[in-house]
């Protein structure tokens, strides 16, 4: 078929009346303390949405015809009403894809999941070996994930996802990850490490080196067909060939994030007041936030690429990921910190000594180290409840949030994950 992707992408850039899909972190509670957790999860927030709150949101999503939600956390299955909410969503024609570390995937649960067309499961795994995985996700987490995958495979659940955040320590395991996925009849999904949440503390130590980025790109070019990426690596398109994917930042345009207390953010990797659009408990509900938020309206306007617009790779990479820039202290209209042309490194080197912005909330377990090696992190006070919204300034936006990927925790979500537009002609 003849395809012209450009006009459709233009439609998406200016926003749709409803998201195509969205990420919904159901809880900040988590049994793990992954060092790179993008939502700084650990402890439940007392202001978490109630079961009734959640059902109201689902009712809205059904009315807005949001096809499915990417549910994460925290570890979403620790919510006592998790299965009730999953059933409610699917009964109301809202499909569910949820991310889990495998904690509650017993043989009985696996059988039940295998029986539903409306539920998809992603198991988070950040190492193809226990050694590599557990260094990031915690002792015993590899075994827990492997057990869950075995239960899903035994129950006949074909095509569940194994979701991997790519780090300096697991890039060399790409083939091994693929082999694991194949052995369980699952599909591999790899996503980009972002300096969001606790990821900001370990980003310097964990993000792939320039040489590894190239290795990853080459691997994707040769294996891309059957590997999902949530479009999270479009900054690598600067190497030449565009990778499959939407190749645009969907934040606030076709995707967004709802956090456990009902705050709506532009994307899962941008949990910061700068990207807060509103709260689902406000009188207009989720639809009111989606349609009337000043922040989202700004993101749907034509954006400036700043210094990047003079780069020959700009059309391909669109300046990279908004969240990656923000949490490394780079201007949103400048290069991505992992710019393949090296402009990001240069920008970081001259960014000055001011500390990059910190995430607005931190629900990490208390008293447990969440650093890797030489990590340096100071305790951050927990903030609860809705925070005042704040618009992005006009110079901010565009460059492209990629919506995708990240980390660990149970959620990785990328709303448009794996969503592929055919190449423009």
């Amino acid at each position: 078929m003849t395809v012209t992707a450009a006009p459709l992408t233009a439609e998406f850039r200016s926003g749709l009346d409803a998201p195509i899909c969205l990420t919904w972190e159901l809880t900040y509670a988590c049994n793990l303390s992954c060092v790179h957790c993008l939502s700084s999860s650990g402890r439940r927030d007392p202001a978490e949405l109630s079961t009734q709150d959640c059902k109201r949101v689902i009712d809205e999503l059904e009315r807005m015809q949001v096809f499915y939600v990417n549910i994460g956390g925290g570890e979403p299955t620790v919510r006592p009403d998790f299965w009730e909410l999953v059933d409610y969503a699917t009964a109301h024609h809202v499909g569910v894809k949820f991310s889990t570390n495998g904690l509650r995937i017993t043989p009985a649960v696996a059988s039940r999941l295998a029986g539903s067309d409306y539920i998809d499961v992603q198991i988070s795994l950040d190492g193809a070996t226990a050694e590599v995985n557990d260094a990031v996700r915690g002792r015993g987490s590899f075994e827990m994930a492997t057990r869950a995958m075995q239960h899903l495979a035994d129950a006949g659940f074909r095509g569940f996802k194994i979701s991997v955040v790519m780090t300096r320590h697991n890039i060399a395991q790409l083939d091994a990850f693929k082999a694991i996925a194949d052995s369980f009849g699952a599909q591999l999904r790899i996503t980009r490490l972002r300096p969001s949440g606790r990821g900001a503390d370990v980003w310097d130590e964990l993000h792939p080196t320039a040489a590894q980025q190239r290795e990853l790109y080459d691997w994707l070019v040769s294996h891309g067909e059957n590997v999902l990426t949530g479009d999270s690596f479009f900054h690598l398109a600067g190497y030449g060939q565009e990778l499959p994917g939407l190749n645009m930042c969907g934040a606030g345009r076709v995707v967004c994030l709802i956090d456990p207390v009902g705050d709506v953010y532009a994307c899962p990797f941008a949990i910061h007041s700068e990207f807060l659009a509103g709260n689902v408990r406000a009188p207009g509900g989720f639809a009111g936030v989606w349609r009337s938020s000043e922040l989202f309206a700004g993101l749907r306007q034509p954006q400036s690429g700043g210094a990047c617009t003079s780069c020959s790779a700009f059309d391909a990479c669109q300046g990279g990921c908004m969240a990656a820039k923000f949490f490394t202290g780079l201007p949103l209209d400048g290069p991505d910190p992992e710019c393949v042309r090296g402009f990001g490194e240069a920008a970081l080197a001259t960014a000055g000594t001011a500390a990059p912005p910190r995430p607005s909330g931190d629900h990490s377990h208390r008293g447990r180290p969440t650093t890797l090696g030489s990590g340096r992190r100071a305790p951050v006070p927990v903030s609860i409840g809705p925070r005042p919204g704040q618009g992005l300034t006009a110079s901010t936006g565009q460059a492209g949030l990629t919506v995708r990927s990240a980390p660990d925790r149970a959620c990785d979500e990328s709303p448009l994950a794996g969503f592929t537009l055919p190449p423009a002609r």
């Binding site: 078929m1 439609e11 009346d17 448009l416």
Partner: protein, 113 residues
């Protein structure tokens, strides 16, 4: 997720790609359609794939498939002229390949012809 988006639109020229315009078709029961200004979004809950209809006319055709005795009749109903028909057949073929639409083998020509 496994939503590999596809775009179905009437291309300028192309063969009918083997699509049976005279057969009875319908939207797959697991597909949800969301009208948009550019056409529509389609999501298949079974395959978890997303597709796009890139024109309102194509949406009209797809929407009426289930009520028309054939795809050809659905196109006529939507005002598609003979010159455009091959392009629409090709778009429908794409949708059939991705299971967004499916045949109605037991539901031919209720008018008795």
């Amino acid at each position: 997720m496994s939503t590999n988006g596809q775009t179905a639109q009437p291309p300028a020229t192309s063969p009918e790609a083997g699509f049976d315009l005279d057969a009875a078709w319908r939207l797959h029961p697991q597909v949800s359609v969301r009208p948009e200004r550019f056409g529509a979004l389609l999501y298949h809950f079974g395959t978890r794939r997303l597709s796009f209809l890139k024109s309102p006319e194509l949406l009209s055709v797809v929407s009426s498939l289930g009520a028309q005795p054939s795809a050809r009749a659905a196109c006529a109903e939507a005002g598609i002229g003979p010159a455009e028909l091959p392009a629409y057949a090709r778009a429908l073929a794409t949708l059939a390949t991705s299971q967004m639409i499916c045949g109605r083998p037991d539901d031919r020509r209720k008018d008795g012809t």
